[in-house]
Protein backbone atom coordinates (compact mmCIF):
# COMPACT_ATOMS: atom_id res chain seq x y z
CA UNK A 1 0.00 0.00 0.00
CA UNK A 2 2.62 2.43 1.15
CA UNK A 3 5.04 1.28 -1.50
CA UNK A 4 2.39 1.81 -4.16
CA UNK A 5 1.93 5.37 -3.02
CA UNK A 6 5.69 5.98 -3.19
CA UNK A 7 5.55 4.43 -6.65
CA UNK A 8 2.97 6.93 -7.94
CA UNK A 9 4.84 9.81 -6.37
CA UNK A 10 8.07 8.72 -8.01
CA UNK A 11 6.21 8.21 -11.28
CA UNK A 12 4.89 11.76 -11.19
CA UNK A 13 8.39 12.94 -10.37
CA UNK A 14 9.81 11.11 -13.36
CA UNK A 15 7.19 12.65 -15.65
CA UNK A 16 8.13 16.12 -14.38
CA UNK A 17 11.77 15.35 -14.97
CA UNK A 18 11.02 14.22 -18.52
CA UNK A 19 9.28 17.52 -19.28
CA UNK A 20 12.16 19.48 -17.74
CA UNK A 21 14.64 17.49 -19.79
CA UNK A 22 12.72 18.27 -22.97
CA UNK A 23 12.79 21.94 -22.04
CA UNK A 24 16.52 21.69 -21.43
CA UNK A 25 16.99 20.32 -24.94
CA UNK A 26 14.79 23.09 -26.32
CA UNK A 27 16.99 25.70 -24.64
CA UNK A 28 20.28 24.23 -25.89
CA UNK A 29 18.75 23.86 -29.36
CA UNK A 30 17.64 27.47 -29.23
CA UNK A 31 21.08 28.68 -28.14
CA UNK A 32 22.85 26.61 -30.79
CA UNK A 33 20.62 27.16 -33.79
CA UNK A 34 18.53 30.27 -33.33
CA UNK A 35 20.59 32.75 -31.31
CA UNK A 36 23.78 32.82 -33.44
CA UNK A 37 23.54 34.99 -36.52
CA UNK A 38 25.02 32.21 -38.63
CA UNK A 39 24.82 28.75 -36.99
CA UNK A 40 26.88 27.17 -39.76
CA UNK A 41 29.73 29.55 -39.08
CA UNK A 42 29.36 28.82 -35.38
CA UNK A 43 29.69 25.11 -36.09
CA UNK A 44 32.57 25.13 -38.57
CA UNK A 45 34.52 28.18 -37.41
CA UNK A 46 35.53 31.31 -39.28
CA UNK A 47 38.23 29.82 -41.49
CA UNK A 48 36.25 27.02 -43.14
CA UNK A 49 36.36 26.86 -46.96
CA UNK A 50 33.15 27.39 -48.95
CA UNK A 51 32.47 23.73 -49.83
CA UNK A 52 32.76 22.67 -46.19
CA UNK A 53 30.36 25.44 -45.29
CA UNK A 54 27.77 24.22 -47.81
CA UNK A 55 28.16 20.60 -46.80
CA UNK A 56 27.77 21.35 -43.09
CA UNK A 57 24.74 23.51 -43.80
CA UNK A 58 22.98 20.53 -45.34
CA UNK A 59 24.37 18.14 -42.71
CA UNK A 60 22.94 20.33 -39.96
CA UNK A 61 19.63 20.35 -41.80
CA UNK A 62 19.48 24.12 -41.76
CA UNK A 63 17.57 24.17 -45.03
CA UNK A 64 14.59 22.57 -43.25
CA UNK A 65 11.93 24.17 -41.01
CA UNK A 66 12.82 24.76 -37.35
CA UNK A 67 10.55 22.12 -35.82
CA UNK A 68 12.04 19.48 -38.09
CA UNK A 69 15.52 20.60 -37.07
CA UNK A 70 14.55 20.26 -33.43
CA UNK A 71 13.21 16.77 -34.03
CA UNK A 72 16.48 15.73 -35.70
CA UNK A 73 18.39 17.21 -32.77
CA UNK A 74 16.25 15.24 -30.29
CA UNK A 75 16.79 11.97 -32.15
CA UNK A 76 20.54 12.56 -32.25
CA UNK A 77 20.81 13.38 -28.56
CA UNK A 78 18.89 10.24 -27.62
CA UNK A 79 21.30 8.22 -29.72
CA UNK A 80 24.10 9.72 -27.63
CA UNK A 81 25.31 11.79 -30.58
CA UNK A 82 26.23 15.31 -29.48
CA UNK A 83 28.07 16.17 -32.69
CA UNK A 84 31.75 16.56 -33.34
CA UNK A 85 34.16 18.94 -31.67
CA UNK A 86 36.00 21.17 -34.13
CA UNK A 87 38.78 21.72 -31.63
CA UNK A 88 39.69 18.12 -30.72
CA UNK A 89 38.14 16.48 -33.82
CA UNK A 90 36.68 13.77 -31.55
CA UNK A 91 32.99 13.28 -30.95
CA UNK A 92 31.75 15.50 -28.14
CA UNK A 93 30.37 12.46 -26.30
CA UNK A 94 33.81 10.81 -26.25
CA UNK A 95 35.45 14.04 -25.11
CA UNK A 96 33.02 14.46 -22.25
CA UNK A 97 33.47 10.85 -21.18
CA UNK A 98 37.20 11.52 -20.99
CA UNK A 99 37.12 14.79 -19.05
CA UNK A 100 34.11 14.31 -16.76
CA UNK A 101 35.78 12.01 -14.16
CA UNK A 102 38.31 14.75 -13.37
CA UNK A 103 35.46 17.12 -12.51
CA UNK A 104 33.64 14.46 -10.48
CA UNK A 105 36.83 13.80 -8.51
CA UNK A 106 37.20 17.50 -7.72
CA UNK A 107 33.56 18.18 -6.87
CA UNK A 108 33.22 15.03 -4.75
CA UNK A 109 36.21 15.79 -2.55
CA UNK A 110 35.02 19.42 -2.34
CA UNK A 111 31.57 18.35 -1.18
CA UNK A 112 32.98 15.88 1.35
CA UNK A 113 35.19 18.61 2.84
CA UNK A 114 32.26 21.05 2.86
CA UNK A 115 29.93 18.63 4.64
CA UNK A 116 32.49 17.28 7.12
CA UNK A 117 33.36 20.81 8.27
CA UNK A 118 30.14 22.68 7.43
CA UNK A 119 27.63 20.50 9.29
CA UNK A 120 29.42 20.56 12.69
CA UNK A 121 30.10 24.29 12.23
CA UNK A 122 26.40 24.93 11.62
CA UNK A 123 25.39 22.83 14.64
CA UNK A 124 27.84 24.63 16.92
CA UNK A 125 26.64 28.01 15.62
CA UNK A 126 22.99 27.10 16.25
CA UNK A 127 23.66 25.84 19.77
CA UNK A 128 25.62 29.01 20.59
CA UNK A 129 23.21 31.34 18.85
CA UNK A 130 24.24 35.01 19.09
CA UNK A 131 27.56 34.27 20.75
CA UNK A 132 30.91 35.03 19.17
CA UNK A 133 31.29 31.59 17.61
CA UNK A 134 27.96 32.03 15.84
CA UNK A 135 29.19 35.36 14.44
CA UNK A 136 32.43 33.76 13.27
CA UNK A 137 30.56 31.01 11.40
CA UNK A 138 28.23 33.61 9.92
CA UNK A 139 31.02 35.89 8.67
CA UNK A 140 33.04 32.96 7.28
CA UNK A 141 29.87 31.87 5.45
CA UNK A 142 29.01 35.34 4.16
CA UNK A 143 32.57 35.75 2.91
CA UNK A 144 32.10 32.51 0.97
CA UNK A 145 29.10 34.08 -0.73
CA UNK A 146 31.12 37.17 -1.63
CA UNK A 147 34.52 36.02 -2.85
CA UNK A 148 35.08 35.20 -6.54
CA UNK A 149 36.20 31.56 -6.75
CA UNK A 150 38.77 32.25 -9.48
CA UNK A 151 40.45 34.95 -7.42
CA UNK A 152 40.51 32.82 -4.29
CA UNK A 153 42.11 30.07 -6.39
CA UNK A 154 44.87 32.41 -7.58
CA UNK A 155 45.52 33.61 -4.04
CA UNK A 156 45.60 29.99 -2.85
CA UNK A 157 48.19 29.12 -5.50
CA UNK A 158 50.27 32.12 -4.50
CA UNK A 159 50.19 31.27 -0.81
CA UNK A 160 50.15 27.47 -0.56
CA UNK A 161 52.07 26.57 -3.71
CA UNK A 162 54.51 29.41 -4.32
CA UNK A 163 55.19 30.77 -0.86
CA UNK A 164 54.64 27.81 1.50
CA UNK A 165 55.14 24.97 -1.01
CA UNK A 166 52.62 22.77 0.79
CA UNK A 167 50.81 21.58 -2.33
CA UNK A 168 51.57 20.83 -5.97
CA UNK A 169 50.86 23.44 -8.63
CA UNK A 170 48.34 23.63 -11.48
CA UNK A 171 47.45 20.53 -13.45
CA UNK A 172 46.44 17.07 -12.31
CA UNK A 173 49.74 15.20 -12.09
CA UNK A 174 53.48 15.91 -12.19
CA UNK A 175 55.11 15.31 -15.59
CA UNK A 176 57.27 12.48 -14.21
CA UNK A 177 54.19 10.52 -13.10
CA UNK A 178 52.17 10.70 -16.30
CA UNK A 179 50.99 7.55 -18.10
CA UNK A 180 52.00 5.18 -15.29
CA UNK A 181 48.48 4.33 -14.18
CA UNK A 182 45.90 2.84 -16.56
CA UNK A 183 42.54 4.48 -15.94
CA UNK A 184 39.79 2.44 -14.25
CA UNK A 185 37.37 5.05 -12.96
CA UNK A 186 39.14 8.04 -14.53
CA UNK A 187 39.64 9.54 -11.08
CA UNK A 188 43.41 9.63 -10.78
CA UNK A 189 43.84 9.34 -7.03
CA UNK A 190 41.40 6.43 -6.83
CA UNK A 191 42.91 4.66 -9.84
CA UNK A 192 46.47 5.00 -8.53
CA UNK A 193 45.46 3.56 -5.18
CA UNK A 194 43.57 0.68 -6.81
CA UNK A 195 46.67 -0.15 -8.85
CA UNK A 196 48.92 0.16 -5.81
CA UNK A 197 50.96 3.06 -7.24
CA UNK A 198 51.29 4.97 -4.00
CA UNK A 199 53.82 7.52 -5.29
CA UNK A 200 51.47 8.49 -8.11
CA UNK A 201 48.51 8.68 -5.74
CA UNK A 202 50.48 10.99 -3.45
CA UNK A 203 51.45 13.29 -6.27
CA UNK A 204 47.92 13.37 -7.69
CA UNK A 205 46.48 14.10 -4.26
CA UNK A 206 48.94 16.99 -3.86
CA UNK A 207 47.50 18.47 -7.05
CA UNK A 208 43.90 17.75 -6.10
CA UNK A 209 43.80 19.05 -2.56
CA UNK A 210 44.06 22.80 -3.18
CA UNK A 211 41.31 23.18 -5.81
CA UNK A 212 39.16 20.77 -3.79
CA UNK A 213 39.64 22.93 -0.68
CA UNK A 214 38.62 26.03 -2.67
CA UNK A 215 35.41 24.35 -3.84
CA UNK A 216 34.95 22.87 -0.38
CA UNK A 217 34.95 26.34 1.10
CA UNK A 218 32.00 27.36 -1.07
CA UNK A 219 30.17 24.20 -0.13
CA UNK A 220 30.96 24.88 3.53
CA UNK A 221 29.55 28.40 3.32
CA UNK A 222 26.21 27.10 2.05
CA UNK A 223 26.01 23.91 4.14
CA UNK A 224 26.91 25.58 7.45
CA UNK A 225 24.35 28.34 6.91
CA UNK A 226 21.56 25.91 6.12
CA UNK A 227 22.54 23.51 8.93
CA UNK A 228 22.39 26.39 11.39
CA UNK A 229 18.90 27.36 10.29
CA UNK A 230 17.56 23.76 10.30
CA UNK A 231 19.07 23.16 13.74
CA UNK A 232 17.52 26.31 15.17
CA UNK A 233 14.17 25.01 13.92
CA UNK A 234 14.70 21.59 15.51
CA UNK A 235 15.97 22.91 18.85
CA UNK A 236 12.68 24.78 19.29
CA UNK A 237 10.64 21.58 19.02
CA UNK A 238 8.99 19.91 21.97
CA UNK A 239 10.74 16.58 21.59
CA UNK A 240 13.99 18.37 22.43
CA UNK A 241 12.51 19.55 25.71
CA UNK A 242 11.23 16.03 26.39
CA UNK A 243 14.66 14.56 25.74
CA UNK A 244 16.22 17.08 28.12
CA UNK A 245 13.61 16.46 30.81
CA UNK A 246 14.30 12.75 30.47
CA UNK A 247 17.83 13.60 31.54
CA UNK A 248 19.70 12.90 28.32
CA UNK A 249 23.06 14.58 28.06
CA UNK A 250 23.09 17.81 26.09
CA UNK A 251 25.50 16.25 23.62
CA UNK A 252 23.11 13.42 22.89
CA UNK A 253 20.14 15.76 22.52
CA UNK A 254 21.93 18.02 20.05
CA UNK A 255 24.01 15.63 18.00
CA UNK A 256 21.74 12.59 17.99
CA UNK A 257 18.17 13.78 18.28
CA UNK A 258 18.12 17.29 16.80
CA UNK A 259 20.76 16.73 14.14
CA UNK A 260 19.13 13.42 13.26
CA UNK A 261 16.01 15.29 12.21
CA UNK A 262 17.91 18.14 10.59
CA UNK A 263 19.56 15.63 8.24
CA UNK A 264 16.34 15.20 6.30
CA UNK A 265 16.27 18.67 4.70
CA UNK A 266 20.07 18.70 4.65
CA UNK A 267 20.07 15.95 2.03
CA UNK A 268 18.55 18.37 -0.47
CA UNK A 269 21.03 21.06 0.50
CA UNK A 270 23.99 18.74 0.01
CA UNK A 271 22.73 17.58 -3.38
CA UNK A 272 22.26 21.20 -4.45
CA UNK A 273 25.69 22.14 -3.18
CA UNK A 274 27.22 19.27 -5.14
CA UNK A 275 25.49 20.52 -8.27
CA UNK A 276 26.73 24.04 -7.58
CA UNK A 277 30.29 22.78 -7.28
CA UNK A 278 30.03 21.30 -10.76
CA UNK A 279 29.26 24.83 -11.88
CA UNK A 280 31.96 26.39 -9.71
CA UNK A 281 34.38 24.00 -11.35
CA UNK A 282 34.14 25.97 -14.62
CA UNK A 283 36.14 28.82 -13.11
CA UNK A 284 38.22 26.74 -10.70
CA UNK A 285 39.38 24.38 -13.42
CA UNK A 286 40.47 27.33 -15.55
CA UNK A 287 42.62 28.70 -12.75
CA UNK A 288 44.15 25.35 -11.82
CA UNK A 289 44.53 24.07 -15.40
CA UNK A 290 42.44 21.07 -14.30
CA UNK A 291 41.49 19.00 -17.36
CA UNK A 292 37.80 18.56 -16.47
CA UNK A 293 34.44 19.36 -17.97
CA UNK A 294 34.49 23.02 -16.92
CA UNK A 295 37.78 23.69 -18.67
CA UNK A 296 36.56 21.73 -21.67
CA UNK A 297 33.50 23.98 -21.93
CA UNK A 298 35.44 27.24 -21.55
CA UNK A 299 38.19 26.13 -23.94
CA UNK A 300 35.64 25.20 -26.57
CA UNK A 301 33.85 28.46 -25.94
CA UNK A 302 36.91 30.58 -26.56
CA UNK A 303 37.43 28.69 -29.82
CA UNK A 304 33.79 29.09 -30.88
CA UNK A 305 33.30 25.31 -30.82
CA UNK A 306 29.52 25.37 -30.29
CA UNK A 307 28.87 21.61 -30.43
CA UNK A 308 31.23 21.05 -27.53
CA UNK A 309 29.82 23.97 -25.54
CA UNK A 310 26.23 22.81 -25.94
CA UNK A 311 27.11 19.18 -25.27
CA UNK A 312 28.86 20.15 -22.05
CA UNK A 313 26.01 22.45 -21.05
CA UNK A 314 23.50 19.70 -21.67
CA UNK A 315 25.46 17.18 -19.58
CA UNK A 316 25.71 19.59 -16.65
CA UNK A 317 21.98 20.34 -16.95
CA UNK A 318 21.18 16.62 -16.92
CA UNK A 319 23.35 16.09 -13.83
CA UNK A 320 21.52 18.98 -12.17
CA UNK A 321 18.12 17.43 -12.88
CA UNK A 322 19.38 14.01 -11.84
CA UNK A 323 20.67 15.28 -8.50
CA UNK A 324 17.38 17.06 -7.83
CA UNK A 325 15.43 13.89 -8.55
CA UNK A 326 17.78 11.83 -6.40
CA UNK A 327 17.46 14.21 -3.45
CA UNK A 328 13.66 14.13 -3.79
CA UNK A 329 13.62 10.34 -3.71
CA UNK A 330 16.04 10.16 -0.78
CA UNK A 331 13.93 12.71 1.04
CA UNK A 332 10.88 10.49 0.66
CA UNK A 333 12.78 7.43 1.85
CA UNK A 334 14.28 9.14 4.89
CA UNK A 335 11.29 11.14 6.07
CA UNK A 336 8.24 8.98 6.82
CA UNK A 337 5.96 12.06 6.74
CA UNK A 338 6.81 12.75 3.10
CA UNK A 339 5.72 9.29 1.96
Amino acid sequence: MNLARIGTAVGREVATVAVTFLGLLLVTFFIGRVVPIDPVLAAVGDRAPMDVYERVKIELGLDRPLWEQFWLYLVKVFQGDLGKSVLTSNTVAADIKRVFPATIELATLGTILGVVIGVPAGVVAAVNRGKWIDQVVRVVGLFGYSVPVFWLGLMGLLLFYRMLDWVNGPGRLGVAYEDIVDPITGMLVVDAMLRGEWEVARNAFGHLILPACMLGYFSLAYVSRMTRSFMLEQLKQEYVITARVKGLSERRVVWRHALGNAWVPLITVIALSYANLLEGSVLTETVFAWPGLGRYITNSLLNADMNAVLGGTLVVGVVFIGLNLLSDILYRLVDPRAR
Binding site: T20, S146, V147, P148, F150, W151, M306
Partner: protein, 301 residues
Protein backbone atom coordinates in the same frame (compact mmCIF):
# COMPACT_ATOMS: atom_id res chain seq x y z
CA UNK B 1 10.72 72.18 12.25
CA UNK B 2 13.10 71.06 14.97
CA UNK B 3 14.44 67.55 15.29
CA UNK B 4 12.18 66.63 18.18
CA UNK B 5 8.97 67.83 16.52
CA UNK B 6 10.00 65.99 13.35
CA UNK B 7 10.45 62.85 15.42
CA UNK B 8 7.07 63.32 17.05
CA UNK B 9 5.49 63.90 13.63
CA UNK B 10 7.10 60.72 12.30
CA UNK B 11 6.16 58.57 15.29
CA UNK B 12 2.61 59.93 15.59
CA UNK B 13 -0.03 57.27 16.31
CA UNK B 14 -2.58 59.13 14.24
CA UNK B 15 -1.00 60.17 10.96
CA UNK B 16 -2.98 62.88 9.16
CA UNK B 17 -1.87 62.07 5.64
CA UNK B 18 -0.72 59.15 3.58
CA UNK B 19 2.72 60.78 3.33
CA UNK B 20 3.02 61.01 7.10
CA UNK B 21 2.02 57.38 7.55
CA UNK B 22 4.54 56.19 4.99
CA UNK B 23 7.34 58.38 6.34
CA UNK B 24 6.58 57.17 9.86
CA UNK B 25 6.72 53.54 8.81
CA UNK B 26 10.02 54.09 6.99
CA UNK B 27 11.42 55.80 10.09
CA UNK B 28 10.43 52.87 12.30
CA UNK B 29 12.13 50.49 9.91
CA UNK B 30 15.25 52.65 9.90
CA UNK B 31 15.33 52.54 13.71
CA UNK B 32 15.30 48.74 13.73
CA UNK B 33 17.76 48.60 10.82
CA UNK B 34 20.14 50.88 12.73
CA UNK B 35 20.51 48.40 15.58
CA UNK B 36 22.23 45.88 13.30
CA UNK B 37 25.92 46.87 13.03
CA UNK B 38 26.71 44.44 10.20
CA UNK B 39 23.87 45.84 8.11
CA UNK B 40 25.20 49.36 8.67
CA UNK B 41 28.62 48.25 7.47
CA UNK B 42 26.94 46.88 4.35
CA UNK B 43 25.08 50.14 3.81
CA UNK B 44 28.31 52.12 4.23
CA UNK B 45 30.09 49.96 1.64
CA UNK B 46 27.27 50.41 -0.87
CA UNK B 47 27.19 54.19 -0.30
CA UNK B 48 30.96 54.41 -0.78
CA UNK B 49 30.61 52.36 -3.97
CA UNK B 50 27.97 54.76 -5.32
CA UNK B 51 30.09 57.80 -4.44
CA UNK B 52 33.16 56.27 -6.04
CA UNK B 53 31.28 55.58 -9.24
CA UNK B 54 29.82 59.09 -9.30
CA UNK B 55 33.13 60.87 -8.68
CA UNK B 56 35.50 58.35 -10.28
CA UNK B 57 37.44 60.93 -12.37
CA UNK B 58 38.02 63.06 -9.25
CA UNK B 59 39.12 60.16 -7.03
CA UNK B 60 41.35 58.40 -9.56
CA UNK B 61 44.95 59.58 -9.49
CA UNK B 62 45.69 58.59 -13.10
CA UNK B 63 43.88 58.05 -16.40
CA UNK B 64 42.67 54.41 -16.16
CA UNK B 65 43.46 53.76 -19.82
CA UNK B 66 46.77 55.64 -20.11
CA UNK B 67 49.59 53.19 -20.82
CA UNK B 68 53.14 53.90 -19.80
CA UNK B 69 55.53 51.13 -20.73
CA UNK B 70 58.38 52.67 -18.70
CA UNK B 71 56.33 52.11 -15.57
CA UNK B 72 55.08 48.59 -16.13
CA UNK B 73 54.54 46.15 -13.24
CA UNK B 74 55.65 48.55 -10.51
CA UNK B 75 54.80 47.47 -6.96
CA UNK B 76 52.46 49.62 -4.84
CA UNK B 77 54.07 52.99 -4.03
CA UNK B 78 53.21 56.58 -3.13
CA UNK B 79 52.46 57.47 -6.77
CA UNK B 80 50.76 54.20 -7.76
CA UNK B 81 48.87 53.14 -4.63
CA UNK B 82 47.98 49.66 -5.91
CA UNK B 83 50.96 49.39 -8.31
CA UNK B 84 50.81 49.22 -12.11
CA UNK B 85 49.86 46.44 -14.53
CA UNK B 86 51.71 44.94 -17.51
CA UNK B 87 50.91 47.98 -19.67
CA UNK B 88 51.96 50.46 -17.00
CA UNK B 89 48.39 51.49 -16.16
CA UNK B 90 47.65 52.63 -12.63
CA UNK B 91 45.69 49.84 -10.90
CA UNK B 92 44.11 52.08 -8.25
CA UNK B 93 42.57 54.31 -10.93
CA UNK B 94 41.37 51.26 -12.84
CA UNK B 95 39.74 49.79 -9.75
CA UNK B 96 38.00 53.12 -9.07
CA UNK B 97 36.70 53.39 -12.64
CA UNK B 98 35.71 49.72 -12.49
CA UNK B 99 32.99 50.62 -9.98
CA UNK B 100 31.12 52.25 -12.87
CA UNK B 101 31.17 49.09 -14.97
CA UNK B 102 30.10 46.95 -12.03
CA UNK B 103 27.23 49.28 -11.19
CA UNK B 104 26.05 49.56 -14.80
CA UNK B 105 25.96 45.76 -15.15
CA UNK B 106 24.11 45.28 -11.87
CA UNK B 107 21.68 48.10 -12.66
CA UNK B 108 20.78 46.82 -16.12
CA UNK B 109 20.34 43.26 -14.90
CA UNK B 110 18.14 44.31 -12.00
CA UNK B 111 16.05 46.69 -14.10
CA UNK B 112 15.24 43.93 -16.59
CA UNK B 113 15.05 40.96 -14.25
CA UNK B 114 13.01 42.47 -11.40
CA UNK B 115 9.98 43.55 -13.45
CA UNK B 116 10.15 40.47 -15.68
CA UNK B 117 10.25 38.03 -12.77
CA UNK B 118 7.60 40.05 -10.96
CA UNK B 119 5.26 40.01 -13.96
CA UNK B 120 5.70 36.28 -14.64
CA UNK B 121 5.42 35.32 -10.99
CA UNK B 122 2.46 37.59 -10.18
CA UNK B 123 0.58 36.41 -13.28
CA UNK B 124 1.21 32.74 -12.48
CA UNK B 125 0.28 33.14 -8.84
CA UNK B 126 -2.84 35.20 -9.47
CA UNK B 127 -4.18 33.23 -12.44
CA UNK B 128 -3.45 29.73 -11.12
CA UNK B 129 -4.57 26.74 -13.21
CA UNK B 130 -2.85 25.95 -16.49
CA UNK B 131 -1.29 29.42 -16.80
CA UNK B 132 0.47 28.79 -13.50
CA UNK B 133 1.54 25.29 -14.52
CA UNK B 134 3.01 26.40 -17.85
CA UNK B 135 4.82 29.45 -16.48
CA UNK B 136 6.25 27.57 -13.54
CA UNK B 137 7.41 24.68 -15.75
CA UNK B 138 9.33 27.17 -17.90
CA UNK B 139 10.78 28.68 -14.73
CA UNK B 140 11.84 25.25 -13.50
CA UNK B 141 13.59 24.52 -16.78
CA UNK B 142 15.67 27.66 -16.42
CA UNK B 143 16.33 26.84 -12.77
CA UNK B 144 17.55 23.40 -13.80
CA UNK B 145 20.51 25.00 -15.55
CA UNK B 146 23.48 26.12 -13.55
CA UNK B 147 23.46 29.87 -13.94
CA UNK B 148 27.02 30.53 -15.00
CA UNK B 149 27.09 27.74 -17.56
CA UNK B 150 23.83 28.88 -19.15
CA UNK B 151 25.17 32.46 -19.26
CA UNK B 152 28.37 31.13 -20.83
CA UNK B 153 26.45 29.32 -23.55
CA UNK B 154 24.35 32.42 -24.29
CA UNK B 155 27.40 34.68 -24.53
CA UNK B 156 29.13 32.12 -26.73
CA UNK B 157 26.22 32.21 -29.14
CA UNK B 158 25.88 36.00 -29.00
CA UNK B 159 29.61 36.92 -29.17
CA UNK B 160 31.51 38.22 -26.11
CA UNK B 161 30.96 41.76 -24.87
CA UNK B 162 29.54 43.64 -21.94
CA UNK B 163 26.06 44.13 -23.47
CA UNK B 164 25.74 40.43 -24.20
CA UNK B 165 27.02 39.57 -20.75
CA UNK B 166 24.20 41.70 -19.30
CA UNK B 167 21.62 39.98 -21.54
CA UNK B 168 22.97 36.54 -20.64
CA UNK B 169 22.94 37.22 -16.89
CA UNK B 170 19.43 38.67 -17.11
CA UNK B 171 18.17 35.63 -19.04
CA UNK B 172 19.51 33.32 -16.35
CA UNK B 173 18.66 35.40 -13.29
CA UNK B 174 14.88 35.86 -13.48
CA UNK B 175 13.54 32.45 -12.32
CA UNK B 176 14.08 32.91 -8.55
CA UNK B 177 12.30 36.27 -8.73
CA UNK B 178 9.33 34.67 -10.46
CA UNK B 179 9.24 32.03 -7.71
CA UNK B 180 9.21 34.62 -4.92
CA UNK B 181 6.58 36.77 -6.64
CA UNK B 182 4.37 33.75 -7.29
CA UNK B 183 4.44 32.68 -3.66
CA UNK B 184 3.40 36.19 -2.60
CA UNK B 185 0.71 36.48 -5.28
CA UNK B 186 -0.89 33.19 -4.24
CA UNK B 187 -1.43 34.58 -0.77
CA UNK B 188 -2.56 38.00 -1.98
CA UNK B 189 -5.14 36.76 -4.47
CA UNK B 190 -7.37 35.48 -1.68
CA UNK B 191 -7.30 38.78 0.18
CA UNK B 192 -10.62 40.59 0.69
CA UNK B 193 -9.54 43.77 -1.04
CA UNK B 194 -8.71 41.85 -4.22
CA UNK B 195 -12.25 40.44 -4.16
CA UNK B 196 -13.51 44.02 -3.63
CA UNK B 197 -11.58 45.32 -6.65
CA UNK B 198 -12.84 42.42 -8.71
CA UNK B 199 -16.43 43.15 -7.74
CA UNK B 200 -15.92 46.72 -8.89
CA UNK B 201 -15.27 45.25 -12.32
CA UNK B 202 -11.50 45.57 -12.60
CA UNK B 203 -9.95 43.43 -15.34
CA UNK B 204 -7.43 40.69 -14.51
CA UNK B 205 -4.66 42.72 -16.14
CA UNK B 206 -5.50 45.71 -13.99
CA UNK B 207 -5.62 43.63 -10.82
CA UNK B 208 -2.25 42.01 -11.51
CA UNK B 209 -0.50 45.22 -12.55
CA UNK B 210 -1.96 47.64 -9.99
CA UNK B 211 -2.96 45.53 -7.02
CA UNK B 212 -0.92 42.32 -6.92
CA UNK B 213 2.46 43.41 -8.24
CA UNK B 214 3.01 46.36 -5.86
CA UNK B 215 2.43 44.09 -2.86
CA UNK B 216 4.99 41.55 -4.05
CA UNK B 217 7.61 44.28 -4.29
CA UNK B 218 9.08 44.36 -0.73
CA UNK B 219 10.12 40.71 -0.75
CA UNK B 220 11.51 41.22 -4.24
CA UNK B 221 13.63 44.16 -3.06
CA UNK B 222 15.14 41.94 -0.40
CA UNK B 223 15.71 39.18 -2.92
CA UNK B 224 17.33 41.66 -5.33
CA UNK B 225 19.77 43.02 -2.77
CA UNK B 226 20.78 39.52 -1.76
CA UNK B 227 21.13 38.65 -5.45
CA UNK B 228 23.38 41.62 -6.27
CA UNK B 229 26.47 39.81 -4.98
CA UNK B 230 25.64 36.83 -7.20
CA UNK B 231 25.20 39.09 -10.23
CA UNK B 232 28.51 40.85 -9.53
CA UNK B 233 30.29 37.50 -9.16
CA UNK B 234 28.76 36.10 -12.36
CA UNK B 235 29.69 39.25 -14.31
CA UNK B 236 33.23 39.10 -12.92
CA UNK B 237 33.43 35.40 -13.81
CA UNK B 238 32.40 36.14 -17.39
CA UNK B 239 34.94 38.98 -17.48
CA UNK B 240 37.63 36.66 -16.12
CA UNK B 241 36.97 34.17 -18.92
CA UNK B 242 37.20 36.97 -21.49
CA UNK B 243 33.48 36.87 -22.29
CA UNK B 244 32.32 40.00 -20.49
CA UNK B 245 33.71 43.50 -20.77
CA UNK B 246 36.45 43.61 -23.38
CA UNK B 247 39.86 45.27 -23.00
CA UNK B 248 40.84 47.98 -22.35
CA UNK B 249 37.74 48.51 -20.13
CA UNK B 250 38.78 48.32 -16.46
CA UNK B 251 36.37 45.53 -15.49
CA UNK B 252 37.48 43.80 -12.28
CA UNK B 253 37.15 40.20 -13.48
CA UNK B 254 39.06 40.96 -16.67
CA UNK B 255 41.72 42.75 -14.61
CA UNK B 256 42.22 39.61 -12.52
CA UNK B 257 42.56 37.60 -15.73
CA UNK B 258 45.39 39.86 -16.95
CA UNK B 259 47.09 39.60 -13.56
CA UNK B 260 46.92 35.81 -13.69
CA UNK B 261 50.14 35.48 -15.72
CA UNK B 262 52.09 37.53 -13.21
CA UNK B 263 50.50 36.11 -10.07
CA UNK B 264 53.73 34.62 -8.67
CA UNK B 265 56.01 37.59 -9.32
CA UNK B 266 53.74 40.65 -9.40
CA UNK B 267 50.97 39.57 -7.05
CA UNK B 268 49.43 43.05 -6.75
CA UNK B 269 48.04 43.08 -10.29
CA UNK B 270 45.37 40.46 -9.51
CA UNK B 271 45.02 41.17 -5.80
CA UNK B 272 43.49 44.65 -5.80
CA UNK B 273 40.54 44.03 -8.16
CA UNK B 274 39.79 40.76 -6.33
CA UNK B 275 39.58 42.54 -3.00
CA UNK B 276 37.33 45.16 -4.63
CA UNK B 277 34.92 42.43 -5.78
CA UNK B 278 34.95 40.82 -2.32
CA UNK B 279 34.25 44.07 -0.50
CA UNK B 280 31.40 45.13 -2.79
CA UNK B 281 29.78 41.68 -2.82
CA UNK B 282 30.10 41.43 0.96
CA UNK B 283 28.56 44.91 1.27
CA UNK B 284 25.48 43.90 -0.73
CA UNK B 285 25.18 40.63 1.22
CA UNK B 286 25.31 42.39 4.59
CA UNK B 287 22.86 45.08 3.43
CA UNK B 288 20.51 42.43 2.06
CA UNK B 289 20.61 40.45 5.31
CA UNK B 290 19.76 43.62 7.25
CA UNK B 291 16.97 44.63 4.87
CA UNK B 292 15.44 41.18 5.11
CA UNK B 293 15.20 41.46 8.88
CA UNK B 294 13.38 44.79 8.52
CA UNK B 295 11.25 44.39 5.40
CA UNK B 296 10.51 40.72 5.41
CA UNK B 297 10.51 39.39 8.97
CA UNK B 298 8.72 36.20 7.88
CA UNK B 299 11.76 35.10 5.87
CA UNK B 300 14.42 35.73 8.47
CA UNK B 301 15.32 33.48 11.35
Amino acid sequence: MTASTLRAWLLSDAPRSRLQARAGQAYLRWISFKTNPLALVGLAIVVVLLLMAAFAPLIATHDPLAQSLDHRLRPPSATNWFGTDALGRDIFSRVVHGTRITLVVVLFVVVTVGPLGLLIGATAGYAGGWVDTVLMRVTDIFLAFPRLILALAFVAALKPGIENAVIAIALTAWPPYARVARAEAMVIRNADYIAAVRLQGASATRIVLLHVMPLCTPSLIVRTTLDMAGIILTAAGLGFLGLGAQPPLPEWGAMIATGREQIFDQWWVATAPGIAICVVALGFNLLGDGLRDVLDPKQSQ
